[in-house]
Amino acid sequence: MRSSVKRLVSATAAAALSLGIAAGAQAASHSETFKIGVVTFLSGGAAESFGVPAWNGGKLMIDMLNKGELPAPYDQKGFGGLMIEAIEIDEAGGATKQVQEFRNLVQREKVDAVLGYVSSGDCLAVPPVAEELKAFLVLYDCGTPRVFEEGSYNYVFRTAAHAAMDNISLAKYMTSRGIKVGSFAGVNQDYAWGHDSWADFVASMGILMPDAKATTSLFPKIFAGQYGTEISAVMREKPDLLHSSLWGGDLQAFMLQASARGIHKRMQVALAAGDHVIPQLGQKMPDGIILGARGMNGLAAHAKGGELVDLLWDRYKAEYGVFPVQAPFRMWQGLLGVKTAVEAAMKANGGKKPTAEQMAAAMKGQTWEAPSGTITMALGNGHQAIQPNAIGTTKWDEAAGEMTLVDVEYYDAECVNPPNGIKAVDWIKAGFPGAKCN
């Protein structure tokens, strides 16, 4: 009897112990986190327009993901049940500093992935280091096509379309809306972004409106602030259309100075990436300005609506007091892309936290739904995203007391992005072969 009691106690203790170990092991898996380095401008000229709104959107979405507040297919908490732990890094300081910051994130902080980079210079400098360290890197914002047109990487992905799409769409808008353009001028910043934007727009107009003549092309230096002379030069030329890819404080200053001189009454103004200054300018952004948002982002996404867009739009507005412009949308599509890749990799490896190799394999050629439409990693051998775009025209809504976009035209991703294996500018000059437009 005594021995049977002894056996019972021993068995109970062993069971309790094994249960405890199992419970402990389960708790360990639940306490595991997914560390992600988020790099964007938190100071400097690009912070207010791109970095800060993007990180605001990022914080909001990470919080919602960790609480499981997003609708299906994103309703599983965190990334595949792993709580997301973000480490934010300021992108200010130049490419050399960012390369060092990236090494710190990977080697010291031991992050599982890095999501970042607004500056094209940083987007060109960091990928070779990611390859060297075999670290999973997702570029979420920068526009230069050169990353995957001139480079090939295993661990590097970009979840936003490159900048050619913005200017192709703008030129297509002129034709689809029947806007007569006999001549056009440009005011773009004097660095790669400004020159590439103008070149893409001129090439697109050359195909779509071959009779339209490019006249003045001005390239004031970045952060110039004073545009009086440029405005005079354009007004003296009297083109039908003024193209500009200015952004941030430069675009705000340009619009303040140009609209005060009535430039929008004398020619059609088209802004390749102009949506992000609307919250600051309000009614100082005149009616009738044609603008894009580097994707179906901001006001254009809101105009189209949808469960995910509406939820994020309302939460962002409630949290920060302004509507989300293009930058948070690109951050959201990047985060959802990482979530999709992590969960696909976990499905393939039996539910374990994935390695960089597994995430890269899952991300290659991946497709997912974002607030800005369907994102497909179609270019750069499955490493570069294409996405739909939208262009609209500004109109102040007096009753609502806010700016709206009217006459919005939506463009399928394959209509305004080149196919895999061809450079964007060559595709434009060849007359957009293989473009699939509805």
Binding site: Q226, A260, R261
Partner: protein, 300 residues
């Protein structure tokens, strides 16, 4: 003819703005012998203070008398000078007057970095707008184009500011005392001049002019972090062309840069950035000390 007129008007508008943002820099160098790299930050603080003050003005009934916003702009710049000039000059710069000029540059560079962060701490990174004064005076037709009348106000204010500084230095007793200090600090001191007071006054005037430049610019731009950085670069070009420490030189340098840049934008836009430094290089080849500063013999 139309083109010539447009270039002249554009050049004068830009030149007037350049003068107002660079005259304080040359005044401080002329009196204190310090090349103040923090000048751009003081300009930015002037712009931020103006945006805040004019915003408050319109929020509390300024619409009834909108022209009053111009007085608010000037008062905001004055407040910046009254608060910051004694702190910087008495608290920091006076310890470096007898040191090498390079030390002054390094110290003011440190001040620049501190002030840039202080701006972000006080006003954050979101831009401020104060466009009401810009639209207030309407538009003016000049030749084939329309200009904002505010641009001509900037020309007038720059001309008045330049004349006031020149008049003060050359036609008033205090100004002549200041010139005496510029020419020979030790001799002035032995003659009973309170050099510390002169330095504080000159630095205060320099800070006011920097802040006033920011105040005049604020209605035209988005007031955001970093606006002072570019200003300091172009202001240096202007005062080097005119001669470090010369008020007349700053005026001529500003007009030369303004008109050359306007001509370039209208005729050869690809040279816009190059032209400012080309003008500077040409001037320095023929006048190594700048247009209004005579080459001095050096004792060996």
């Amino acid at each position: 003819m139309d083109l010539f007129l447009v270039i002249l008007v554009d050049g004068l508008i830009y030149g007037a703005w350049l003068f107002i943002v660079s005259v304080g820099l040359t005044l401080v160098f002329g009196v204190l012998g310090i090349l103040n790299l923090a000048h751009g930050s003081l300009y930015a603080i002037g712009a931020y203070s103006t945006a805040t003050a004019v915003g408050i003005y319109f929020a509390y009934g300024g619409d009834a008398f909108p022209l009053g916003s111009y007085a608010v702009m000037a008062l905001a710049a004055l407040l910046v000078a009254v608060v910051i000039a004694p702190l910087l000059e008495r608290g920091l710069l006076r310890h470096f007057y007898h040191r090498d000029e390079v030390i002054g540059v390094l110290v003011t560079y440190g001040v620049f970095l501190i002030l840039e962060d202080a701006i972000k701490l006080i006003w954050g990174v979101d831009p401020l707008f104060v466009y009401e004064p810009y639209d207030l005076l309407g538009m003016v037709e000049a030749g084939p184009l329309f200009y904002v009348a505010y641009d001509f106000l900037v020309i007038a204010v720059s001309a008045v500011a330049g004349f006031a500084v020149w008049y003060f230095l050359n036609r008033t007793r205090r100004g002549k005392v200041m010139l005496a200090v510029i020419h020979d600090r030790e001799m002035s001191q032995t003659m009973g001049v309170n050099v510390d007071k002169v330095f504080l006054l000159a630095f205060g005037a320099g800070v006011f002019l920097a802040a006033f430049g920011g105040a005049l610019t604020a209605p035209m731009i988005s007031v955001s972090p970093g606006i002072g950085v570019n200003v300091i670069i172009v202001a240096f070009a202007v005062i080097i062309i005119g001669g470090l420490g010369s008020i007349e030189g700053a005026a001529l340098g500003a007009v030369m840069v303004g008109i050359s840049r306007a001509a370039s934008v209208h005729l050869m836009p690809e040279l816009e950035l190059f032209i400012i430094y080309f003008v500077m290089a040409v001037v320095l080849i023929f006048r190594p000390e700048g247009i209004f500063v005579r080459t001095q013999t050096r004792k060996i």
